[in-house]
Structures are given as C-alpha cells and as structure tokens.
C-alpha cells in the first residue's frame, strides 16, 4: 500500500472525527476559542497576576482539544515530547560544562528523533531490510498509525533545545508557555515549523488585540480557504482519477494531471499555511511566512527559498550550516547539498519516492551552487513592473516545468510507478495538454480558479500574502471578498484532507 493510499485509508477511518481548517467543527471551534481567549482570559482576569499563564494554559487546552479531535491517544505523545524538550532546555541551561550541555542536547535530539523514527520510519526500514536479506517481516512490523503532525512538532521541539545549547535563547522555566509554543493549534499539525527564538517569546509576554492585524488575518484565512477548497480540492478530483488509472491514460492527460497536482499541492499546503498564519494573527501571534510565490521562481535555488520556507531554513540552520554549508571544498558542498535534499525528501515520508524527489532536486541545485549562481535571484521577479520580460517568463516556465517533473516523483506510489508515468507522459501528443488545459469544457472551472490564484498572487507578489489589498478601494475589496466567499461555497471541491497532514 502506497503512502497516499495509506493516508486516505487513515483519513477515511477518521473522517467523522477530524477537525480540519475547512470543517464545520473548526468553524465552531475557532470563534469559541477566540471569544474565550480575548474576553474571559484577557478581560475578566485582567487584574490577576496569573493572567498570562492562564491565557497560555487556555491555549494549551484549546490546542489539545484540537489535536485530540483526531486521536486523543497521541496527546500523551505530544505532552511527553514537550515535557522532555522543556526539561532538556533547563538541564542544558544549568549544565556546568559545555560537554554536559552537549550531552543533554544530544539526548533530547536522540529521544525526539527516536520517537519520530519509531512511528514514521521503523516499518519502512524493517521492510526494506527484510526484502534485502529475504527474511520474513512476520511479527516485526509495528503497523502503528502515524500521529498527525509529528514531523512538524518534533522539529519545533528540536529547534528549541539546539537554540538553547547554542545560546540563542534562554531556557524557559515557564512550562505552560513552552507547551503552548509546541502545541499552538494553528500550526500544530502542518506548520509553519516555528523557531523557539521567534514564537516562544510571544507566549512570554502579554498579547494585545490589534484590529488591523486581525483583519489582515481574516483576509489571509479567506485567501487560504480559496486556495485549499476551490483550487486544490478541485484539482484533486482530476489528479486522483488520473493517477489511479495512469496506465490507461494518454500522454497529454498524464501531463495535465501532473500540472494539476503541481497546483493542488501548492494550493493545499500554502492554503493551509495561510489559514494557520491568519488564525494565529487573530490571537495576536505572528507566525513566519511559509510560501513566497514559489511558482514565480526563475531557477530551482530561488524555488527552494520560496517553497516550505520554514522547513528549508530549518535544514539550512540545523544541518547544512553545521556541516559547513557552501564554504567548504567542492566535494563537501556536493555532500552537504545531497544530505539536506535527501533529508528533506525523507522528512516527507518513509518511501523511496520522497528520497528520489529529494535527490532530483539536489541534482538540479548542484550546478547552481557549484558555479556560485544559487543566489542569483534574491529579489522579486519583475520588480517595479507589471509584466515579466520574455527572458524572465522563460526562466519561470522552465523552473515550473522542472518542479512538475519533481511532483510526479513525489505523488507516485513507487519509483516504478513514477517511471511508468514518465514513459506514458512522453508519448506523442503530450503537447496537446497545453491545448486541452484551455479547451476542455469539463476542466474550465478549475482552470479558471488556477488562473485567478496565479493572477492575484502575481499582483501581490511583493506583499506578505495574496490578499494584501489595503491599498485598493473599499468597493473593490468587498466585491472581491464576497466573490471569494461565493466561490468557496459554490465551487468548493469535495472535502479532501490536507496533503501535508500525512507528514
């Protein structure tokens, strides 16, 4: 059973219990938590010296309710991870020698990665090992359900103890604030993976409600919902059909489905991030940007500075730079590049397809870093202009196409399937996909939604989020809001779980 299949089986089994951002449960949960957060724990307990601690405690309770909605049994796991990381922070801070501090840091890393490995990778390694040596896996496999978001909160917990060890942050004694930092519900299950240096201090000081921030948060949530419900979920219908019957499809259909998946995964994950960041703004918390219009990148290096920023910067800061980064010999640069891309691929799941996807991007990235051109494009494309030049358009198209190839490997259930998919795609007539993209009546609504998404994001590419439209007139803004709401209500595809929940 492939990863996607496993994930859908898991989700189907939990369908009535889950609390997705696009679910009715969350639509009820969010206003209740918002009102209690600002009115009960901010207003009524204002004179109490414990106000901040109570508000943080409420964040923890709300987050645990949110998480427990999937499977309450894993609350123990997240509490255990949080407690160990908090404790290790204190022990690192109190360590008399650097050696002891290193020991506590290492122990926490081993513990966290051990838990992650047990739940996420154990069965994969046992199966691969058994296949290699032709031994039976009977009784060896754990077959445990992957706890939702384990890769996200584990990395967040790791960043804390490493940053304490590095002296970037003081260890906190406030266990409640720390638990809130690890479990803050908007970003608990699919990121952005926050750093302790950025998020933890926000739980240690009083939050003030800010009207402009809250309105901006609502706009970002609306835009995220549009990307998820209208773009990604509609693409998913077509993508799932084609990928499940790929052997019977023509080359143009396969290419079209790959392009749709490219937009699906972007709409899905960046939509989730937008909703998470927007929700956090309602609570006076600022989360880091996770996507910065990656499909407008002019080369792969720029793509990786704009895609899943919280994960790529995590690997950069905690793996790549400690290994020497790019300021080492060329041989080591090659090694370091492969290490972070393979790790990044493997982080997504225990399947060779993810590793191959990482390797593919490493191969694309290497020529740029070895020739020193990896930071060629650090500005925004077509800066100060409405339209890109012909050269920029070509660069963007090429990068997009390279990303599409990568997403086929990522989406496939196995390397063999990916290979067959490529073979099928390279049949004569593939070019028809471009024609069909614009001429297939059944696909028109979805194409239109993709075009709307790209257009809005192009126009706001130098802003913090797609719907940063404060500068536009009131009538235009409100027409846009209601148009988006109408599209979400009427054209939302069938509810599809967020793709990144499986990681």
């Amino acid at each position: 059973m492939g990863n996607h299949e496993k994930f859908h089986t898991f989700v189907a089994a939990n369908q009535t219990r889950d609390m997705l951002f696009n679910s009715i449960q969350f639509a009820l949960f969010l206003p209740i938590v918002f009102l209690l957060y600002w009115f009960v724990f901010d207003r009524f307990i204002r004179k109490s010296e414990h106000q901040l601690r109570l508000q943080n405690a409420f964040v923890v309770v709300a987050s645990y309710v949110f998480y427990g909605w999937w499977d309450w049994r894993f609350l123990l796991l997240i509490a255990f991870t949080s407690f160990c990381s908090w404790g290790s922070g204190l022990l690192i801070g109190r360590a008399e020698t650097r050696k002891k501090a290193k020991l506590w840091t290492t122990l926490n890393i081993v513990l966290n990665l051990g838990i992650l490995a047990l739940f996420k990778y154990y069965d994969f390694f046992v199966t691969e090992f058994a296949q290699l040596f032709h031994i039976s896996t009977d009784g060896l496999l754990l077959k445990v359900i992957l706890p939702v978001g384990i890769s996200f909160y584990t990395f967040q917990a790791l960043s804390y103890s490493i940053d304490v060890y590095r002296g970037k942050i003081e260890p906190t004694k406030d266990i409640i604030a720390f638990f809130a930092f690890i479990s803050f519900f908007p970003q608990l299950v699919a990121g952005p993976i926050e750093r302790a240096t950025s998020l933890l201090p926000q739980f240690l000081k009083k939050r003030e409600f800010n009207y402009d921030t809250a309105v901006d948060g609502m706009r970002q949530m609306l835009w995220g919902l549009f990307k998820k419900i209208v773009v990604a979920d509609n693409c998913a219908v077509y993508v799932d059909q084609v990928f499940s019957t790929y052997t019977e499809q023509t080359g143009s259909t396969l290419l079209l489905a790959a392009i749709f998946f490219t937009f699906q995964i972007y709409g899905d994950f960046s939509g989730y991030s937008d909703i998470a960041i927007g929700t956090a703004k309602l609570f006076g918390i600022k989360l880091m940007r996770n996507f910065n219009v990656p499909y407008f990148s002019r080369d792969i290096a720029e793509f990786w500075r704009r895609w899943h920023i919280s994960l790529t910067t995590w690997f950069r800061d905690y793996v790549y730079i400690p290994l020497g980064g790019s300021r080492v010999s060329k041989g080591k640069v090659v090694r370091n590049t492969f290490v972070i891309f393979l790790l990044s691929g493997f982080w997504h799941g225990a399947n060779w397809t993810f590793i191959a996807w990482g390797a593919y991007h490493a191969i694309l990235f290497l020529p740029l870093i070895l020739t020193g051109k990896n930071r060629k494009f650090t500005n925004q494309v077509a800066e100060g202009r409405v339209l890109p030049t012909l050269k920029e358009s070509g660069q963007m198209l090429l990068t997009f196409f390279l990303a599409v190839i990568g997403w086929i490997i990522f989406r496939a259930e196995s390397i063999g399937q990916a290979w067959e998919y490529f073979q099928g795609m390279l049949q004569f007539g593939t070019i028809r996909a471009i024609y069909r993209f614009f001429n297939w009546p059944g696909l028109w609504p979805t194409n239109l939604f993709i075009i709307i998404m790209l257009l809005v994001e192009w126009l706001s590419r130098d802003k913090q989020q797609g719907l940063s439209i404060e500068g536009f007139g009131m009538v235009f803004r409100w027409v846009l809001y209601f148009a988006l709401i109408l599209l979400i209500v009427f054209y939302g595809g069938q509810s599809v779980p967020f793709v990144y929940f499986q990681f």
Binding site: Q15, I24, F39, Y211
Partner: protein, 306 residues
C-alpha cells in the same frame, strides 16, 4: 443578538468592537447573499419539476436500473414510465425524487437492501439540493457531518430533470455470472451490524409516508441477490431487520405482498446483486402482468430467482 451585545459591552477596545461588528456583518451578508442566490436558482428550477400524474415514476438503485425495462413496461401498461433509478443512489436521492413526484401518480420504488447496508460514503447522493430533504435526513438520525457532506455534494445542483425514459444499455448478453469478486463485501454487508441502517431506513420510511400522503400509489420491489449471497443473507441479522421493516410497511400501508419467482434455463444474474438482460426482461413481463391484475392497491413485490 443579546449574546453579541454582551460581548460588545465587555470589550473596552474600539478595535475589538469594530472587528466583531465587521465579522457579524460579513457572516450575515454572506448568508443573505448565498441564500438569495439559492432562492433565485430554486425559482428557476421550479419549471423543471415533473407535473404529469398520468405517468409511472420509478426510483431505485442499480438493482432497479438494471432490473426493470421501463420502455417495455410502458408498452405493456400503455402508460409512460419514467425512471430516476441509478447506480449507487441512496436514501437522500430517494427523498429528492419523492419531492418531485406529482400527487396522485404511481410510483415504483425499490426496497434497496444494498443501499440501506452500504457505507454512506459510497452512496451517490447527488440528486439535487433540497433543504427539506436534508432536514428529513437529520431528523431521521443522520449525523450532522454526513448531512453537511451531502449538502456539499449537491450545492450546485438545483435542477429536477431527474426522470427519463432512457433504458440501461446492456453489453451483449453472456450466459455467465460476470463479477463475483465482491462476495466478501456482501457477506460483511449482511452479517455485520451497521450503525447507519437505522437512519437510512427511517429516512426511507419518511419518504414512503410522504408519497402516501401525496396519494401516490406505491409499488415496492425487493430485488434478489445471487444464490450464494442469498444463502448468507437468509439467516443474517441484517436480513432479519430488513424483513421486519418490510413486514411493518406491509401492515402500515396495507400493502398487498406478492412474490415474483423468476425461472429460466438461462442464468438470470449479471453479477452477485444485479439481474442480467434476460432476468430484466422476465421480471418486467411478470411485473407488468401483475400490475395489470391489480390497479388499486399499494403493493410489495419480492423477486426471487430459482
């Protein structure tokens, strides 16, 4: 309203007040906006509802779609027969059809054991958006999430051209049982307790009751399964439950109960749950004769294959 006043009164911050008012405004306007669009769409769709009571209307799942030749039946009875039977249709689809069947007409409805026992996620449930039908589902015990899911499936479908006289297209007849790969699914279907059976049958009963109140003559048909499935179903808990339901309906609506036993040298089943072309023709002929023999009573036909 009192609640929002309370919340606004306890807020000192002008920003918070403004924000809450804005949220209330957006939610209210969105609701009005969406409801207005739906009202307009409903108004436009009214003209698509069937109005002729001198027709026979058919609803059922795939067993009915593959098991009754509507054109042949129409010829036999001399009256148009229109069908909305389709693969995978469920009780929500039935409720939608009930709303659209004209008063005092005749309605042939399948007694869909498979639809009662099938996981709701596999039901078609795309016959249109009707708040009243969603409410009936909810009142029958259907979970709110499922009602919302069904509403989502139908949100853009407000059109009541459900009944047609298009007949199921058969592939050339083969004298063999084509598909038996779902045998285990059928075994589980009959032998395992299904939590959704209650709300599905309650919804179905509400639909039948509604038809009776509209003075519609109701003809129910229970289709057969292949012998190996019938053998398992015979003593199963779920067949026992559906038999109880059948008995209750016969008593409540004073239905005349008959058995149509299909007999032939040829194989009559297409797969484990559907008649084949020969079976369909045999049943349609026998059913037509039975319909001619009694033109007054509500009926319950149990079809068996021997």
């Amino acid at each position: 309203m009192e609640g929002s006043r309370f919340l606004l009164s306890i807020s000192n911050s002008d920003g918070m007040k403004k924000f809450l008012w804005k949220i209330v405004f957006v939610v209210a306007c969105s609701a009005i906006f969406v409801m207005s669009v739906y009202s307009i769409m409903h108004g436009r769709a009214e003209s698509t509802r069937p109005t002729n009571p001198k027709c026979i209307y058919v609803w059922g799942d795939s067993q009915m779609a593959q098991g009754l030749d509507v054109r042949l039946l129409g010829k036999k009875l001399g009256i148009p027969v229109l069908t909305a039977a389709g693969h995978g249709t469920g009780v929500y689809d039935f409720l939608i059809c009930v709303e659209n069947i004209p008063d005092s007409s005749i309605c042939i409805v399948s007694f869909p054991e498979a639809a009662f026992l099938r996981n709701p996620s596999l039901d078609f449930h795309r016959y249109g958006f009707e708040l009243g039908c969603l409410e009936t589902l909810f009142r029958s015990g259907c979970p709110l999430e499922e009602c919302i899911r069904i509403a989502g499936l139908n949100k853009r479908k407000i059109d009541y051209r459900l009944f047609t006289n298009i007949e199921h297209e058969w592939t050339p007849y083969q004298d063999s049982l084509v598909g038996t790969e779902y045998f285990d699914d059928f075994r589980r279907m009959f032998t395992e307790k299904k939590a959704y059976f209650t709300w599905k049958t309650n919804s179905y009963l509400t639909g039948i009751q509604h038809l009776i109140e509209k003075h519609v003559r109701v003809i129910l048909i229970r289709y057969p399964f292949a012998k190996q499935v019938e053998d398992i179903a015979a003593n199963s808990i779920n067949r026992h439950l559906s038999d109880s339901l059948k008995g209750m309906m016969i008593d409540k609506y004073r239905m005349r109960c008959d058995t149509i036993a299909l007999q032939s040298d040829s194989l009559l089943m297409f797969d484990l749950s559907h008649l084949n072309e020969v079976g369909e023709r045999l049943l349609t002929n026998a059913f037509g004769e039975a319909m001619k023999a009694d033109t007054v009573n509500n009926r319950f036909f149990v079809v068996t294959v021997e």
